[in-house]
Subunit: 380 residues, 2 copies
């Protein structure tokens, strides 16, 4: 069953649903700089680099879009310097898409001072004080050259008391209005190729999720993110608030689940109708010696792989690392050779891209239910 959606020409990206299977869908996502198909996975390039690999590596393994962290980049090297280099694209020599978060998520983990106007926090680099407001977050992300920027929101921890979550939803709503207004003014003055996504909050509370989605959609963004989940709750706890958030979002705009990247989580979110994902999970596992394979996680540091002549994943022959053996990589890990992290990062990202490609294929073939079941059997 295919659904062809009408696109809203005022919004960016040019997005249309090409195929769907249940709520899961394959989308065409077009921006002036680059186009891609959704679902899509965005590797995290926290400080202007995906750890251990280059932008050229990312192109070669088929990344379409990477995520940059506004919090880190505004502090080091600073958005003004990155702007001089032509934004993250020019700085990191990355020709495809860049999405940046607003900085809010990292700032809120630092127990900052928050008021209605914005948030004040201490730099983890040098202790200096900094301030983010919805307007400032827009401007910094314009300087960073982000193709897609995120509005500043308030992300409460899980668990949190209802009052705290309610307050976060309310402030997220007020900041969404200010951030969107400011963004649209700037977009009209020479940044017509940029997009801004809103963020739904509400913790694990279904009513607050519903309210937040309604408020954010009412403000109106180019795309919509589900924030404040995948922050420590179980997958089971995550599913209902995710589904309720997605139900509140327009079918014709891209939906982005922030901070999700494990196969079981991805397949559940895709089943719910989510299109975009980012997470440090595959790359962090890689740097700790763990590979993603068709049979699940494999800890290549284990002695039992010392004599293995198999590639990292014998069932994923398109891995850019398939010519090196598990035994060789186990050796590199055991003697602390830094290139082990690089090889596993390349593998885990290529594997995740392939996983997402297989998800798209299963949706297009009307076989997503079986893909989901198989995935949960191994990763659930």
């Amino acid at each position: 069953m295919n659904l062809y959606e009408e696109k809203d020409s005022a919004l960016i990206p040019d997005f249309s649903v090409l195929a769907s299977d249940g709520n899961a869908r394959v989308g065409e996502f077009r921006m002036p700089r680059h186009s891609l198909q959704t679902p899509t996975f965005m590797p995290v390039g926290t400080r202007g680099s995906v750890r251990t690999i280059t932008s050229q590596d990312l192109e070669e393994i088929g990344a379409d879009i990477i995520l940059g962290n506004t919090y880190h980049l505004m502090l080091r090297p600073g958005e003004a310097l990155i702007e001089e280099f032509g934004g993250i694209h020019g700085f990191a020599n990355w020709p495809r898409l860049v999405l940046t978060d607003s900085g809010g998520y990292q700032v809120f983990s630092l127990e900052p001072y928050v008021d209605d106007d914005g948030v004040e926090f201490k730099s983890t680099y040098d202790g200096s004080m900094h301030r983010l407001t919805p307007e400032k977050a827009v401007e910094i992300q314009i300087s960073l050259g982000s193709d897609i920027q995120m509005v500043l929101d308030v992300c409460p921890p899980i668990p949190a008391e209802n009052g705290v979550v309610e307050m976060a939803v309310e402030r997220t709503h007020q900041w969404a209005k200010r951030g969107r207004d400011h963004f649209l003014k700037i977009r009209d003055s020479g940044h017509s190729d940029k997009a801004q996504f809103g963020i739904v909050q509400g913790g694990l509370n279904s009513d607050l999720r519903r309210v937040s989605a309604e408020q954010i959609v009412e403000v109106g963004f180019d795309g919509y993110a589900i924030g404040g989940l995948s922050v420590g709750e179980t997958r089971q706890e995550m599913i209902e608030p995710m589904n309720i958030s997605v139900e509140g979002l327009p079918v014709d705009r891209p939906r982005y689940f922030m901070g999700l990247g494990d196969p079981a989580g991805l397949v559940e979110a895709i089943a719910s109708g989510v299109d975009m994902f980012d997470c440090v999970w595959p790359t962090r596992l890689a740097r700790h010696g763990t590979a993603l394979t068709m049979e699940g996680r494999v800890n290549l540091g284990a002695a039992r792989y010392a004599r293995s002549d198999d590639p990292i994943d014998p069932q994923f022959l398109l891995s850019p690392t398939s010519k090196w053996s598990r035994g060789y990589i186990r050796h590199l890990l055991s003697v602390g050779e830094p290139v082990a992290g690089r090889l596993l990062t390349l593998h885990n990202l290529a594997w995740t891209f392939d996983f997402i490609r297989r998800a798209r294929e299963s949706i297009q073939m009307g076989e997503f239910a079986s893909f989901r079941k198989q995935t949960l059997q191994i990763w659930g």
Copy 2:
């Protein structure tokens, strides 16, 4: 002026001098697995990997031959395991040439117990005791699959008393005879594609250098190395013992200066008639943020490069890293992104290969004297 030397068909590699300029020479170095032109530089892959890069990277930047450290590989993961994978070539997936040292140099830095038979030492990995003899060093390097193996020698420190150096020269001679005998027996039984090089010792003492060269040449090897230099002495102190060592070596066999890799040292050794080099210097500098450029060393961690849009070396546009700016790399260094080490390693090795290529070209054009002068002006 070109000198065409007769090759000794019993020896490996098939080596001929294609061109010379003074004592400096360009050679053709043919082995069954791979051929190359000398002078050549060998990156050091201590533990079966050149730190931060892969064997595929090495092929792409044009490495012809890499060096492996027997000491490290015999301890981790052990030569028997590497042999199961088809030697270093199969283990690291490296199709071109491998030269291994004998382990002696590293062992002697551990203050081992030495007698006429061999040397006993404690593993730096787990404290276990191990023994190397001239025969054992041959066998381990056969297991490692080395195309070119080095005979076990005694490398005294600089400075050292004459008695110590004399003893080292004598033992080096005795071990050379035993090592060569053992190697030739093994070569005759199915390893006809392997080469073994002898090593000249003698510290800074010209008489001992002369004696050692004569003794080692009398034993007769496939090629000859100058050992025991570039271990802390000044370049000026190094030159005479190097020249005397080289003078004692046959003109028709390759000559290898162990542990030399800076441009000034390279150009002096090439002037003396040396053909092969290895050193951790370019790759170690890279991991500490220093780039090799046509204008000398550049510490890219310095704040003055923060806004530089130039590539690492604006005069070396063939660098595999030329699309990234000094400013970006400075940022990566300042926030500790590991990919900075990778980019600088790729650059410094490619730069060194290009330097050596320019040296060959200047010899072929009869312009080596001017190349040497220019090099010493910048790097001397």
